[in-house]
């Protein structure tokens, strides 16, 4: 099943972009296909990266790097194994996580920038409210207790590590791992 591009995910002429198809075209060296993906997704990708990295310039760097990887790895995209959109955002998220962990490790600072700048975009309850009705994720997250669903959303959207979650929830590091796994297991039970 190809990934249908929801409204708003269009190229410059306003045509909805089928990401699976565009990736297959990228694999043949079609530069316009990369441009189509960029037009449809770059802004959202910067938003996703910025939720983790906070700094706008760093978020654009992550998106730049992701597109380079997309172009170079396009031949390895297999539409029978999953959606192109998820493939694209996995590449972005992996790259963003690497940058985030590097930044936190190499900066001469006492606390990462990410902790210092909060915005409404970061609030887990707001994020859950924005989830589309087209998937069951919102309904199933809402079956979890607030602390559990918020931890899942925070971890995913902000690129937190186990120790970050442990700090934020004032929960011992030893119990955080299994606590999150149990939360996800409940989520999976609901999602089926």
């Amino acid at each position: 099943m190809s990934s249908f591009a929801p409204p708003g995910r269009a190229n410059r002429t306003g045509t909805a972009v089928d990401i699976d198809n565009a990736l297959l075209r990228c694999a043949t060296g079609d530069e316009r296909a990369l441009r189509d993906i960029y037009d449809a997704e770059a802004a959202r990708m910067i938003g996703v990266a910025q939720r983790m990295l906070k700094r706008r310039a760093l978020a654009e760097e992550a998106v730049h790097d992701a597109f380079v990887l997309v172009w170079r790895k396009a031949t390895s995209f297999d539409p029978t194994r999953g959606s192109g959109l998820t493939w694209l955002y996995t590449i972005l998220r992996n790259r963003t996580l690497n940058i985030l962990r590097d930044e936190n490790r190499t900066e001469l600072r006492d606390a990462p920038v990410a902790d210092e700048i909060a915005s409404e975009d970061d609030d887990p309850e707001t994020i859950i409210m924005r989830l589309s009705d087209a998937t069951e994720l919102r309904r199933c997250l809402e079956t979890l207790e607030p602390k559990r669903r918020n931890a899942i959303v925070l971890a995913y959207t902000q690129g937190l590590s186990h120790s970050d979650v442990s700090d934020r929830l004032a929960m011992p590091l030893g119990t955080v791992k299994s606590w999150i796994r149990r939360s996800l297991a409940s989520l999976k039970e609901c999602l089926g």
């Binding site: 960029y38 802004a43 959202r44 959109l85 001469l108 994720l137």
Partner: protein
């Protein structure tokens, strides 16, 4: 407790399904997972399933319009032509048909220097994408410990009252640091963004963002090696940095590099 087939019992620590949860959430990086788990088909399937379940969360991010520089930067990194670029973008990226290189500066030894030479995409043509993609795929820039290092270039940043407010030290291994010597009053919701400029055609590039004056390492990974006469400046910007990719706020302090004797 082992089972009768003699295989290693699956505990929580090596359970591929559970580790897949950690990776899909981003708590653990995919490249931090052991080779055994990574190769496990159960792990791969579980990871793909979890990513699909959680993917709608990415749709909740507020889109942020890319700065004008991003697409040309990307084209240049990939060595692609301008044919797929929008009309409004000024043509700074030469096409593949003329593979002449701009003058190459003396190379310093080391992985970082080598990566920067191949990433001077604004100056060179026939850019060797392969080297950059390996570096990007590796995903890591190794920042060496400072130990006893002396800078090779120094910039003294002064205010418009000609008072020294910060020093930039650029080291031979390609790293640099900003050392403020004066405090700045930073209003709530704002931050200090640090820029460098080496070529007016390229324009200023953001290399750091701090919420108050303090010493930090500067992020020069994707830039050409620092030279003499290179401008560094600090401007006041919104808390998450300039929304345009160029300085928008007042210049707090600036200065150009000189060779450290």
């Amino acid at each position: 407790m082992s089972d009768t087939t003699g295989q290693m019992p699956v505990s929580d620590d090596n359970n591929p399904r559970l580790i897949a949860m950690d990776v899909a959430l981003g708590l653990v990086r995919e490249d931090e997972v052991s080779a055994t788990i990574a190769a496990d088909a159960t792990f791969q399937t579980a990871l793909a399933d979890w990513r699909m379940r959680l993917a709608p969360l990415d749709d909740t991010a507020t889109p942020v319009a890319p700065s004008d520089a991003l697409w040309p930067h990307l084209l240049s990194s990939l060595g692609l032509s301008q044919s797929s670029a929008p009309d409004a973008v000024q043509s700074m990226t030469p096409t593949r048909s003329q593979p002449s290189r701009a003058p190459v500066r003396d190379s310093a030894p080391g992985f970082l220097a080598g990566m920067w030479e191949s990433l001077t995409f604004w100056r060179s043509v026939g850019f060797a994408g392969a080297a950059a993609s390996v570096a990007l795929a590796a995903g890591l820039v190794v920042m060496t410990e400072r130990a006893q290092r002396r800078p090779i270039f120094v910039a003294v940043l002064v205010t418009d009252q000609n008072e020294t407010a910060a020093i930039v030290n650029a080291f031979a291994d390609g790293t640099a640091e900003l050392v403020p010597t004066r405090d700045f009053a930073v209003p709530a919701g704002k931050a200090i963004e640090i820029w460098t400029l080496w070529d007016r055609q390229v324009g200023p590039r953001s290399i750091g963002l701090i919420e108050k004056a303090r010493t930090i390492r500067l992020d020069l990974r994707h830039l050409p090696k620092t030279t003499t006469g290179q401008l560094f400046e600090m401007t006041l910007e919104p808390a998450t940095g300039s929304p345009t990719g160029r300085p928008t706020g007042p210049i707090l302090t600036k200065g150009t590099t000189e060779v450290a004797l």
